[in-house]
Each structure stands twice: as structure tokens, then as C-alpha cells.
């Protein structure tokens, strides 16, 4: 349906985000909120997310350097992180946060560390993907949102 090659590519990219499980339905919600009045909404939110969550990631990192682990605090941080991640539909990141919280609840320090590493990876991967996606989207120019996988 995309006549424009850029748009077509954009659509493919977008689809792969879903297919690979990086984003979920919530992302669609974001897209739906984007309109003429708010043409770059999705990018704005995602950018905001990465900016704000970086802080939380840092906090968690610092907290993980202090032994013994303060699981309560770690859990609280992660709860916050999970909240924002789920708001933008970052599926894998959100799943990893859940795992992390489980480890916190059970006092599994090792598990926390591992989970956190994995989470950071997913987080970074998604950021790259988003980066490319939005760059392309900007190139494609303002257009109605692509077809959504319903």
C-alpha cells in the first residue's frame, strides 16, 4: 500500500518491530495518538522515555554496586522503569523488568544482575531500532499512520 519506497521501508521496519517482539500493542496506541495536531508524537514519547529512563537505569546500576543489595529499592526503581517502558510498548524491555522484579522479590542478587544485563541489552537494541525507524519516518514526511497490525 505504500507507494513511496521510503514509506514502504518504514512499514517493513515497523512490522519487524512487532514481529520481533520489541514492541507491543501499546505502541499502536501511541501511533493512534499521532495526528496532524501531534505529528511527531510517537517519536516525542519515545525520546522522552529514553531520556528519563536513562536516569533510572543509572540509579539501578549504582544500586547494584552497593552490596548487599537493597532489593526494596531496586524493586521500586524497576517498578518505575517498567511503568514507563510499558507505556511506550517496549515489550521485551518490559518483560525483562518483570523478571528483574521477580529476582528482587525473591532476593536473588545474581538473578538481578543477570536480568539487568539482559535488560540493558534489550533497551539498547530497541533504542537503535527506534532511532533508525524515526529517522526514516522523518524522511518519509508527515503521513497518516501506516496500517496497523490489528
Amino acid at each position: 500500500m505504500e507507494r513511496n519506497p521510503i514509506r514502504r521501508q518504514l512499514a517493513i521496519m515497523r512490522q519487524s518491530l512487532f514481529d520481533q517482539g520489541h514492541v507491543d500493542e501499546q505502541f499502536v496506541q501511541l501511533e493512534e495518538l499521532q495526528d496532524d495536531a501531534n505529528p511527531n508524537f510517537v517519536e516525542e514519547v519515545v525520546t522522552l522515555y529514553y531520556r528519563d529512563s536513562a536516569r533510572i537505569i543509572l540509579n539501578i546500576e549504582q544500586a547494584l554496586e552497593r552490596k548487599p543489595f537493597d532489593f526494596r529499592k531496586l524493586d521500586a526503581y524497576m517498578h518505575q522503569f517498567k511503568g514507563s517502558s510499558s507505556s511506550i510498548g517496549a515489550k521485551k524491555v518490559k518483560a525483562e523488568s518483570t523478571l528483574f522484579r521477580e529476582c528482587c522479590k525473591s532476593g536473588n542478587g545474581e538473578g538481578c544482575m543477570r536480568s539487568f544485563q539482559q535488560l540493558k541489552k534489550e533497551y539498547a537494541t530497541l533504542r537503535k531500532k527506534f532511532g533508525a525507524y524515526f529517522q526514516l519516518a522523518r524522511q518519509a514526511g508527515p503521513v497518516e499512520t501506516a496500517s496497523r497490525p490489528k
Binding site: E44, V45, A76, H79, K82, S87, I88
Partner: protein, 651 residues
Amino acid sequence: MRVERVISDENDSFPVGMRVLAVDDDPTCLLLLETLLTKCKYNVTTTSQAITALKMLRENKNKFDLVISDVHMPDMDGFKLLELVGLEMDLPVIMLSANGDTKLVMEGITHGACDYLLKPVRIEELQNIWQHVIRRKKFDRKDRDGSGSQDKPYIDSSEAAGLGNVDHNGKFNKKRKDQNEDEDEERDENGHDNEDLSTQKKPRVVWSVELHRKFVAAVNQLGIEKAVPKKILELMNVENLTRENVASHLQKFRLYLKRISCVANQQANMAAALGSVDSTHLRMGTMNGLGNFHTLAGPDQIHNAAFRSFQHSGVLRRLNTPAGVGISGLPSSGLVQLSPVQNLGNTSTYQRKLQSFVIPGNHNANILQGMPMSLEFYQLQNNRAASHVGQFPSVDNTTVLPVSSISGSLIDAGCSNSPLLGVTSNSLLLEGSSQLPTLHASNLRDSVSGFPNRSTLSDFTSIAPASNQLHGSKADIQDQAFPISCNAGKIISSAPQDWNAPKKDAPYQSNVPSCSINSLRAVNGDMAQLGQCLDQNNPIFNRNVGFDFVDPLSIKCSEGENLAMEPSVIEKEGYLMVQPSRQGIYIPDNEGENFAMEPSVIEKEGYLIVQPRRQGSYIPGNLGSLEDLASAMTKQVSIITSISCGNFFFS
């Protein structure tokens, strides 16, 4: 006007333009929420801080129709915000959280949320939130059917009533009573008298500090069981206040009391188990901080600062020191100057201080808007735990009579830590001229003098005595949530001086020796902090902790009276418990009663519960004394509560 439109087209365009206030500390979620709400065609205002939200809401009660708030926020617990909003503004509040635990949801319901949404929020869920507003509105309108324009401000009547910030909104939250009945979110009882419902336009009453104080005084006088709106109204003698207003306020009050008592009871058990270990001073200090806030009324930053410092530092100490609290304004408000109040005889001075204190407080009518104060006060009374904050065993030396602060004047007596005293007084003042028996003050004074180290008397300490000090406005203050003060007063009963004062207070104390400051819930934010500040089972009165907490009890000792009460403040599981542990015998001269009551203040989940604990020989010579003690405790508690509340409100 939106209101008019709403009135005319029932549901037609109503949801459109509905004014929502969204609160969430997470910027991503907040942006998302804002966009979603805008998409639903609501008029959205956002803030990432609960404190700011409260400020906005208080500024103009008519500004918003609905509030959506996150549960976990750094500056204030979402549930606390929820409660406050419900109490003060009576707006529907929807909670938002990434956590959908049944427990949490339940808590939301308990606190009065009209809905609980899970993050990430979907637009479909938001599209229907207007129903909560309509629901309230409908009830209002129904009652208001004959009263003409709905959005006409009821300013006149309210102003006439001398209420602080009257909410002259003709909008949905018109009739508190109606809302109470209708939205029984946070109200268990729906016992409103609707008699005058249709007789007159009922302005939205704003329960200012003054008003609340009077209310509490009246209730105390009547006794919580016997307190009926009509009598309360008569006692209060406030123009343009209807029985319905009182009834609805009473309902809320009772609710708080109930809540507090649950907590208090638990605490009491705990306290009992714990015994009065050394210095569990009321963390009045924290209170002080809070109290200061009251006085500060104005400077939000101060409040916030204090508030925050309270939060973060968890050191009451900070609060205790007015300086630490950042309440620079304190001195000006005369708060700090409690010390000058020195003698009990200086009631007038003290009162003056109180007065000055109260004045700033007026601005913060909100301070006491929440029932909390009265509630707390009541709790104290009801919990009869020997809310005997006064006596702090001289053992603890440090002292600062936190209570003194309340009695301000009391503290002067011995402590140079006027700041503390001042604070307390302030808090007391805020509460309304609690008429804590001056006795209390004097007692404190004496005790205070006994402790030279009291330099740092935390305002906290003054809290207890302060209550007594508030001699001036006896009735008022007593009722006010100065449970703490009450205790202080009571405790100090031993002080011969105006022992009568406590007696007088007795009526409203109705044998509630244990002031469970459960009701201090209102203190919410503050209290929470208090709780945090308090170490588990650590005597809050760690004078040595630098609390500058004057132990009124100890102060008393110096007088040669066997006041050995130590309020112990224990923070347990988030409860701030102030348990005065009485060591020795407290002999209130005037009454010749031996009180050995220790008020314990317990803060649970943001609630300050003061449960007086009696140890030692408590000889309730007469019920009166017990009541006095109770009232003293209550006062103290209320003070604490009020302080906390005040702070909370202020912020």
C-alpha cells in the same frame, strides 16, 4: 460556562472539555496520559508533583473536575493525595499504577478512589472517566434543584461564615453532603442529615483551621459518642454554617478516627509490648517541622523543604530545629518563640503567640481542612491510651521537650530551645488555640528547666506541652487535633499551675487516655515522613539524636513532681508511635491525680498515632484526670497531627 453547559445539556457535551488534572512523576507516562486525555477531548492540566497538584487544586477548587494520579510518587504517596483531594475538594480521583495488585487496588478504594486504572492506560478506559464526575454532579444538582444558579458562588455565605477559603464553586462538588452521601468513597457512614438540604443553598464549606478547631472543640466537649451535628453546630456558633456542613464534616472525622483507631490499636499493642523504653519521645520534632509549616503557611518552599527534609532525612532532628526545617519564617510567626512564653502564667503571651501563629495559619485554612486533625484528636481521645505525652522521664535527658514546643511557653520555662517550643506552640496555634491547659505549659516549663540540655528541644517536645500551653484557646485547641498537646497538657497536669485547664479539657477528652493519633492520618504526608524518620522501636524521643526534643515528661520531673513520662515515639512499620513512657508517678498537682500516662504516637502509613501509654502507677484519681491526660494526649496528637496535616496541607 462549562458549568452551565453541563447543567443544560446533561450528557451531551459534558465530557468534552472536562477539566482533568493529571499527576504522575514519570514524564513518559504523563505525556502519554496527557495526550490520551486530550484525545478524549478533555481539558488537561498536568504536573509531575503531587504537591504542586495539591496547590493547584487548593488555589481554585473549581478549576478541575477530576483528578488522575499515579500511586507511586516520590514527593507524596498517591493515596495520600487521593485522600486529601477527596476531603478538601471532594473531587473524584482516579488512581493509576503499573501495579495491579489486589491489595493496592483495595487500598485505592479504601482511600476513596473512584477508579483504579492500570498502566499502560488505554484510551478506551479514559473515555469513560467522565462518568465519575457526572455521578457527583447529578447528586448535587438533585439537591440543588430549587436553589437556582448552580454556579453562583456561595462566597457570600461562606465568607460570612468566616470560613477560610470557601469553595464557591457552583459545579459538581457543590454539596459536600450530597457528595458524601453519594460518593461514599471514603466514607463508611452515610449518616448525613439532609434535613436542610433543600432549604438553602449550601455553600461549599471550607474547613479552615479555625473552623476545624472549633469543631473539634465542640465534639470534644460533647464527647465523640454524643456529638451530634446540631449540638456541635450550636457549640461552634459559627454563622452560616449549616448542620449539614457539620454533619458531613463529622462523618469524615469519624472516618478518620476509625482509621486511626485501627492503627492505634495495633500500635497500642505494640507499644505495650515494647514498654516504655527510654525515650521514646514523640517525634514531635517532626511534628514541629510540620507545625512550622503551618505557621509558615505561606512559604511553600519551606513547607516543601521541611516536608522534604522530613522525608528524606528522616531525622526529626531536622524538623525540630526550625532552622533545620528551614522555617525561617518561624520566628516571625512567633512560633519559635515559644520560649518566651515561659510561664504558664504567660498564657497570654503564649496565646499571643498562638494568635500570631494562627494568623499565618489562616492562610492555610487548608491546613486543617482535612478532618484529620479532629480525627486525630478524636482518636487520641478514644484511644485513651494515656495520651500522656507530658511526662518524660527525666531520664532522658536530652530533652527537648518536644512538647514544649507546643506549649511554647512551657518550654520557655526551661528550655532555651525555644525553637522547639515555638514550634510546638505553633503547631498548637495552628491547631487553633488549643486550649491546652496552661498547666501543661507550666509543667513543661518546669520540666524544661530541669533539663538544661534541652537546647535542642525539638519543637516536638513542645508539642506535648504546647498543647497545654494553648491555654488560651482551650476549647478550640483541645479539640483540634492536638491530641498531643493534650497529652502534654495532661501530663503536665502535675504542674499545679493551670491544672484546671486540663480539667476543662477533660470534657472533650472523655477518657481517652490514649490518644491514638491514628487519626493523624491526615498528616499523611508528614506523618509518613515521621514514620520514616522514626526508627523502628526507637524511642523517638531520642533526645540524643539531636532531636531537640524536649521531653515534657522529663521536664516535669524537675519540678519535683513525679512526672516521669516519656513519650516514646516508635516507628514501626511505618507507624510513628509516640509513646510516652511514664516512669515514676505523675502527679498533677491540681488534681492530685497521678497520671502515668504515656501518650504514644503512632504513625502508621502516614498516620500519626499517639497512644498514651501508661506505665507506672497511674492513679486515676478521677476520671477527670484521666480524661485530662487523654485530652492532653489527644491534644498532643492533634498537634502533631495538625502539624503534619498542616505541613501536608501547606505543601
